[in-house]
Each structure stands twice: as C-alpha cells, then as structure tokens.
C-alpha cells in the first residue's frame, strides 16, 4: 500500500447468488484513490460500478451478495476484515455516501433537521442542541436558503436539487476522508447539476477530501475528475489520468464510448458511431475479453483472461490483441 493512496481496491470479486448460480458482478477490479483527488468510475448500466461501491461500504444486499476475494484497504486498514461495529463507524463517519435518488436516501416521515442532526449524534459526542446547531450550519454551508426554516421541513417539501443538497449534507457532516457519490446528479437538471458539482468541488478543495464519483456521463467526468476508471461487464478495462484518457484512449471500448456521445460541435443529424450489440447477461460471459464477446469475435486469443497492466506511467489497460492498439 502506497502512502499517497487513501483507498486501494485490489482484485475485488463480488458475487451474487441467483437462480442461474453464482454470478460475478465484479470480477477482479483494482483501482486506487489518492488523497485529495477525484476518481471517476464510468461505464454502462450493469457494469458493476455501484456494486463496487457497495462492496467498499459493506452495503451489499443480503444474503445474496458476497465479496469472494480481493482486498480493500482504507487508510491502510483492511476493510474486508473489519468488524461490523468498526464498519458502522466508517460509514457516515470516515466515508460519506451520496446516492442517485435523494428521496430514497431520506426518511419521508422525519424532519430534515432530525435526519441531519442524527449523523452528528451518532458519530460525535455532541449534545442534542449542539448537533442541531451543527446541522443548521451544515445546511448553510451547502447554500440552502433559510436553513433554520428548512430544518423543520419534511423531504417532500423540498425540490430535487435541495434534497440532493441535504443528502450531501448528511454525507459531509462528519468531515469524511472519502465521499462515494453514486450518480449524484443523474436525476437533476443540468443547471442544478452544475450547482451541485460546484459545491462538491469546493468542499473537496477546502477539506482535502477524496471523491469517488460514479457516473455514466463523460462530460461530468471530464470536468470534475483527476483520474478515470473505465469498467465494462464487471471488469476494469482501462484507467488513466483524465487528460491522458481523453487524449489517448487505448482500449477499444473506451474509444467507442468517447466516439458515441453527440458533441455540441458535431454535424447535426450525422450518423453517430455506435457500439454494436448490447451488454450480455453476466451468466453468458466466459474468461476471455468481454468486449470481444460483445463485438462477436471468436478468435482464440480472446479465450484467456486479458492481463490488466500499466503500459505508461499511470495508464493501465486490459491487454487484448483485438481491443488494444499498442
């Protein structure tokens, strides 16, 4: 474990017990998050982004989800073997989490104030009064207008953007070292998304916090992340610093993903490059390169699992003869 990294995930395997047998939703995923940096995890739905986050937080659906292998180190501590009591301290205390849909993260029958103050009561030794004041201050820091009044509101009184601010307040309350944000702005309008990302960036710079940002929006990645991890079908196919990845994508999947988004300067109504086929079900995968499988290639070279290795300083890619031009 290097000293620069706050979180290191090494060959993580997470499986789900299903009718079709044990399915590997996350298949030997490795990445690390340095102190004070934002790492983006990008990929299509079902690629294992969220399951990776859930594995780190030990929030996998029980009893079907299980971590079967690999290691997770957070500030040098082995999280996979930590006690449940320790994990409760870590969650909300040292690692904050922001989910996509704020309404499902908030309890609809309790006032905002009670929910935010609860975090302080759980993780610090504050009195009720102190926790309430700290919560009000937290809402003010997130630029929620009239925080004293909002403390008395119920979640349904607030707009989507305001609710997401409350969820961020919950996540940031105890000054965590790491915030895991799972599609934090996907349900919001672009204007509100810009406000929320601006807030998160501000907090990060001020507190030297690390951020793991899960998203499918490459625009958000380009504007907010320092490093990017590209996932496909439960595996990391490429990871690199953000400028390097956009300027010099090595894996065919990353290249295809970057090409397929319409840009503000592309010719209107021109044919957009697409990725043929769709993501297969997890049960259908073999050991070989999974993107080759999507492209319908059957060559022998792809039957063995491609190696994930560093090809340039900081730039790692899954080495597959068909998918990488090295």
């Amino acid at each position: 474990m290097s000293d620069e990294n706050l979180l290191e995930v090494d060959r993580l395997i997470t499986s789900f017990e299903t009718e079709k047998g044990l399915l590997r939703a996350v298949d030997q995923v490795s990445f690390s998050i340095p102190y004070g940096k934002t790492v983006g995890i990008v990929g299509e739905s079902g690629c294992g982004k969220s399951v990776t986050a859930m594995s780190i937080m030990r929030l996998l659906p029980q009893p079907s989800g299980k971590v079967l292998g690999g290691e997770i180190h957070f500030k040098g501590e082995d999280l996979l073997h930590a006690t449940d009591k320790r994990m409760r301290q870590v969650r909300g205390g040292e690692i904050g989490v922001i989910f996509q849909e704020p309404m499902s993260a908030l309890n609809p029958v309790h006032r905002i104030g009670r929910q935010v103050a609860e975090v302080f009561r759980l993780h610090t030794k504050m009195s009720k009064k102190e926790a309430w004041d700290a919560a009000t201050e937290m809402l003010a820091l997130l630029r929620i207008p009239a925080p004293e009044k909002r403390m008395m509101d119920y979640p349904h009184h607030l707009s989507g953007g305001m609710r997401q601010r409350v969820v961020i307040a919950l996540a940031l309350a105890c000054r965590p070292d790491l915030v895991i944000a799972d599609e934090p702005t996907t349900a919001l309008d672009v204007t509100v998304q810009a406000q929320i990302l601006d807030l998160l960036n501000g907090f990060q710079a001020e507190r030297n916090m690390s951020l793991m940002l899960i998203t499918h929006d490459l625009g958000v990645i380009a504007e907010t992340c320092d490093e990017v991890v590209v996932m496909y079908a439960g595996r990391v196919v490429e990871s690199a610093p953000v400028k390097e990845l956009f300027a010099n994508p090595l894996h065919a999947y990353t290249q295809a993903l970057l090409r397929s988004i319409p840009k503000l300067d592309t010719e209107p109504k021109s044919v957009l490059p697409t990725i043929p086929g769709t993501v297969a079900g997890l049960a259908e995968y073999t050991h070989g390169c999974r993107f080759c499988q999507r492209m319908g290639r059957k060559s022998v070279a792809t039957r063995e699992r491609p190696v994930f290795k560093e090809v340039q300083p900081g730039h790692k890619v899954e080495i597959c003869k068909e998918c990488c031009d090295l």
Partner: protein, 332 residues
C-alpha cells in the same frame, strides 16, 4: 403542417372541503410554434417547465385550456375523442421509459399489432406481415415478435415503442425524452434510428429532452422553454453559437463538455424554477436572477420578437444584453 397559437394548458388546484378551485398550475402559458414537414423541433428546459405538457397537448392527450392547434389546416384543439380517433393515426408519441409504456403481459407481436386492431386495419395475415416489416424497420430480429418486453434491454424496448408509434404511418411524432433512460452507446443507436426513419418516411418530430447535446444533434430548430413560455427559438446552429437570452446562455454553459482540456466559466443559476402555480407577474427569469429591471417588466409585453431572420427571443430587458435589447426595442 402543425401550428399552435397562444396555447395554454392550466391545471386547476383544488383545496378545502368542497374542493373549490383555488388556483391554477399554468403548465403551458401562451406558446406559439410551427412544425414543418420532415422537420425536427427540439424543446429544452428544466424539469417542471411544461415541456411534456406541451407535447401531450399537441397530440391532444390533454385538452388545452385556450389557444388553437391547427394540423394540416384543421383546428384540432377542441375536437372530442370520437372526432379525434381517425386523426390519431397521424400523430403519435414515444415515451421516455419504454418499460413503463409497454404492457408486460403482451408479447411484442400483440404490442406492435395493437394499433392496427384498434383502428380495425387489415386481416390477420396482413397484420402479421406488417408487424414483421415494422420490426425489421426498427432493427429488431423477427424472432423477437414472440417474446415479452422483460426479455429485452432498455434500448431494444425503446425500439419496440418506436415500432408501435410508427405502425399507423404517422406524419409527426412527439418524442418525450426518448433516450434519457439509455446508456450512451445505446443512445446513439436510437438517435441514428430516429434520423434514418425521418429521412425514409418524411416524419416530423417534436423532440423533448434535457440533454442539450442530444437536442442539438437531432434538431433543425430549437425552442427553449422557461416556466410555461418559450423564451428563445432559432435554428440549432444559431442557438448554440449565438444565444441571446440569459436563460439559454446559462443552460448551455451548464452542459458538461467531454473534453478535459476545455476549462470554461460556468454561469451558475441560484435556486430552482419557480412554481408555475404562482408565477412572478413580470419576467420569470428576471425574478429568479433578481434583476434590477424586474419591476419594469410587470406591465410589459414579453412576447417573442424576431431579432435576426429566424431567430426569435423574448423581449425582456432582464434577460438580454444592452445591444440586443436596443435592437429588440426598435422592432416593437
């Protein structure tokens, strides 16, 4: 082909024991627009601005409160359900979430066949052939006809939705966020399909979306909506290169660009879209940004003016540059 004039859709707000009407949600508040044959009109705006309501009113899934909709010269705004039925063949709608708009218990064949059955078209053999042709048109394998919606991915389900909408050979379609629930790689497949279908059948689209790069890609002209009103309307190149209205500028600057080498100043808007129940009396956007000239706008006509050929913008001193406002004042 389609022309809406001063269209309004208000929903009553009722409260109290006797459910007396105490107010109205002015979801669409005085919108005029035209749609030509083979044209795509993009409609953008934040959630709650009335985009979807406008779309539904134009295909007459909702009854407009006032204003007129002319389709091929005929006023359809106040026709009853019976009179509308034969016309329904000409305009269709594609919804955002294909899994919610498809009946899970029907197989693909009966789903796509349903429009023919409702309009009593063809015999069994003919309908069978039409369905196979439609599935082929939208790029689904013939074998999928006997399967059920849950067996398909999101992109394929959207193709089924498109096949249903195309069944009766409509002249124009409202596409309400058709790609926002899809992954980027699938999104581009569906966008390509929509463009191809438009060329093949000379379709017109009203394309509603919140993703501005998608709207720019597919539209000939773009209308920007704010709180029930259109505030700017121009061809899509112009609106992206030379936006006049402050709201359009803010909306465009908020779109994240997938290029880490570009660093732009963002125009961050405070707050959310105000409630359409009790909208500000003057310029709605001027009120949001707390503009110094807001008070003046209360008694003003803030309607659209043609600032340059084909480029319409609301005549609103709060939302225009000094030069543009001077130009606009000369027109009015």
């Amino acid at each position: 082909m389609l022309e809406a004039t001063d269209l309004r859709v208000h929903f009553p707000v009722r409260s109290g024991v006797f459910l007396r009407q105490t107010g109205a949600v002015k979801a669409v508040d005085g919108v005029s627009l035209q749609l030509g044959v083979g044209e795509t009109l993009g409609l953008v705006g934040e959630s709650g601005c009335g985009k979807s309501t406008l779309g539904k009113a134009l295909v007459r899934l909702l009854k407009p409160t006032s204003g007129t909709i002319h389709f091929e010269g005929r006023d359809i705004s106040h026709l009853g359900q019976g009179a509308l039925r034969p016309l329904r063949r000409d305009f269709q709608m594609i919804f955002q979430d294909p899994s919610e708009s498809l009946d899970a218990r029907m197989n693909v064949r009966s789903l796509v066949e349903e429009p023919f059955r409702i309009h009593k078209l063809g015999n069994r053999a003919e309908r069978r052939k039409w369905v196979d042709d439609l599935l082929d048109t939208v790029g689904l394998a013939a074998a999928s006809a006997e399967r059920h919606p849950f067996e398909f991915s999101g992109g394929q389900r959207q193709r089924i939705g498109i096949a249903r909408a195309l069944a009766l050979k409509p002249k124009w379609l409202v596409c309400d966020e058709p790609v926002s629930a899809l992954d980027v790689s699938v999104q581009s497949q569906i966008l390509n399909l929509l463009v191809d279908l438009q060329k093949e059948f000379d379709l017109s689209y009203l394309f509603i979306a919140h993703d501005l790069s998608v709207v720019k890609h597919i539209s000939d002209r773009v209308a920007v909506m704010y709180l029930g009103k259109i505030v700017e309307l121009a061809d899509s190149e112009t609106i992206y290169r030379n936006p006049k209205h402050a709201y359009t500028k803010a909306l465009l600057s908020a779109v994240p660009i997938a290029d880490p080498t570009i660093k732009r100043e963002k125009i961050l808007l405070e707050g959310d879209v105000p409630s359409p129940i009790d909208p500000p009396e003057g310029s709605a956007f001027g009120h949001r940004i707390n503009h110094a000239r807001y008070q003046e706008t209360i008694d003003m006509d803030l309607g659209l003016r043609e600032i340059e050929p084909g480029h319409w913008v609301a005549a609103d001193p709060c939302c225009l540059d000094a030069n543009d406002w001077a130009a606009i004042s000369k027109i009015s």
